[in-house]
């Protein structure tokens, strides 16, 4: 049965059966990907797990590195893709085994850019030379991460971030190559 046939058939059955419409627009739930609290929590976990010590007890991470990490944390099925991508670097003969579109998806993540801009505006991060450095209000990141870890919130994403620690991420990968 084709799609249009199925819909036409449904309409005929509903009409002939005297069914009453039941429209509930509130049931259309937006994806959690666009929820600010969720994105801040994942960003916090990514930063706490992957950032490196910097000056004066601050920590920092490359802006593009955090972008890739949080993207994969929200989509854990991409971790094997990133692993394969990393392993194929320098081995051109393996280039065809790593899908390019999946590699470069994170570059278009504008929602993350907005989240980072929000966190910078709130003093959680400072932008320094292509890096995000913990700012005056960075304590919230640690609290979010430890709360998530203690209560097993976002466990799939946290596990993905832990797996990503074992994968070598190069500068060329951060440019999507």
């Amino acid at each position: 049965m084709s799609s249009s046939t199925a819909l036409e058939k449904l309409v005929r059955i509903l009409e002939s059966g005297g069914a009453r419409p039941d429209i509930n627009a509130d049931r259309l739930a937006p994806s959690a990907i666009y929820d600010l609290d969720y994105r801040v929590a994942i960003t916090a976990c990514a930063f706490e797990i992957h950032s490196k010590p910097y000056i004066l007890e601050k920590r920092r991470i490359r802006t593009s590195h955090l972008k890739l990490l949080q993207f994969a944390a929200i989509r854990p099925w991409l971790v094997p893709v990133i692993r394969q991508w990393s392993q194929s670097l320098g081995y051109a003969q393996q280039s065809m085994f790593s899908p390019h579109q999946l590699r470069r998806g994170f570059l278009g993540d504008r929602v993350h850019d907005t989240v980072v801009a929000f966190l910078v505006a709130r003093g959680v991060f400072e932008q320094v030379d292509g890096h995000l450095v913990s700012g005056p209000s960075a304590g919230v990141l640690g609290r979010l991460y430890f709360t998530a870890a203690e209560n097993s919130y976002f466990s799939t994403s946290v596990r993905a971030l832990d797996e990503l620690r074992e994968i070598r991420i190069t500068n060329s990968m951060l440019e999507g190559w």
Binding site: T5, L7, L14, D22, R27, Q93, S95, M96, L102, G105
Partner: protein, 330 residues
């Protein structure tokens, strides 16, 4: 990444018939007289296309991703495939270890009368090892010596082209890249849809149960349409996920489109004395709204995705129905 590199990497991701179709589409855009060779009715005689009045022939091979684990295996598969194609063009086959004539009756129905190929291009989606060259080029010389050369001149040139060579040979524009990427996207969405599991289908199932109650004489038809809706729903989920993985900015447009589809369909249904007739227009509404943002990239897929989004709205409950007044749903 330059346009050439982007197109080359996209070509490398295509395989099988998708790769051949993209190569042919590329040549159609470049050569005025490029002619594809359909495999019907009795095979393509080893030729996937020809141009320049039949002087130049093309053979394509898009290795299937995942079929080969090592570069050596890729090399072996490529050389085997192209040597086989060359034998067909030279009308040869092996009897034991000896090359003997093997008529190719279909070739007479393909090339113009009296025309022979003067150059043969072997186009493959993986050309990361030069080790394919010696066996293929050596075989070409052997075949030329052993053949009666009815359709190929004895000194015909043979060369192997990979994605980078094909990309660098002629101009690449955004439209070329988009066309190739669309093939990948469409293929992966259709494949992924087969593996999608719909969670929380309880509400959808109960709505189908209402249909069975109000029209018990239409149960086979209801089962069939329920199955079609589930298939469309899986397609919508696969499209959603793939778009989110590869183009998050487009996924945002999809989310907004979904909301607009529901708003428009709901407004039409609520404001009409024949609400179900308005639901019949939902597929067209979805296609129109999605087409605004996506038809350029996803062309043929938009109709299916539109149906999928309607199925999703029915399945996830924004659009639903109740039994007639006075009837109780058990």
């Amino acid at each position: 990444m330059s346009l050439f590199e982007a197109y080359a990497s996209t070509l490398a991701e295509l395989s099988g018939n998708d790769f051949q179709a993209e190569v042919c589409a590329r040549f159609h855009a470049i050569f005025l007289d490029f002619q594809t060779v359909p495999a019907k009715p009795h095979g393509d005689a080893g030729l996937d296309g020809f141009s320049h009045g039949g002087r130049r022939g093309y053979c394509c091979y898009g290795l299937e991703r995942g079929a080969f684990a090592t570069a050596k295996q890729c090399v072996g598969a490529i050389t085997d495939k192209f040597k086989s194609d060359l034998r067909r063009l030279f009308e040869l086959t092996f009897q034991g270890k000896k090359l003997v004539h093997d008529d190719s009756p279909e070739m007479a129905t393909i090339l113009p009368d009296g025309q022979k190929l003067e150059s043969i291009e072997l186009i493959v989606n993986w050309f990361e090892s030069h080790r394919v060259l010696n066996p293929i080029l050596t075989a070409a010389r052997q075949y030329a010596s052993a053949s009666g050369c009815r359709y190929v001149v004895p000194g015909a040139s043979v060369r192997v082209l990979g994605p980078k060579e094909l990309s660098n040979s002629y101009a690449v524009d955004e439209r070329t890249i988009a066309r190739a990427q669309q093939r990948i996207f469409v293929r992966t969405v259709r494949q992924a849809a087969e593996g999608v599991t719909i969670g929380n289908a309880g509400d959808f199932d109960s709505k189908m149960a209402v249909l069975r109650e109000i029209r018990p004489d239409q149960i086979p038809a209801i089962e069939a349409l329920a199955e079609q809706f589930r298939a469309n729903w899986r397609m919508a989920i696969a499209f959603d996920q793939r778009l989110d993985d590869t183009a998050p900015s487009l996924h945002q447009i999809l989310e907004e489109s979904r909301s607009r589809i529901l708003t428009k369909v709901a407004a039409l249904m609520v404001g009409s004395l024949e609400p179900w007739t308005r639901l019949a227009d939902a597929g067209d509404i979805a296609e129109e709204i999605l087409g605004t943002g996506f038809s350029g990239q996803f062309g043929d897929l938009i109709r299916d995705i539109g149906s999928g989004e309607i199925a999703r709205l029915i399945g996830e409950c924004p659009i639903g129905w109740q039994p007639p007044h006075g009837a109780q749903h058990v």
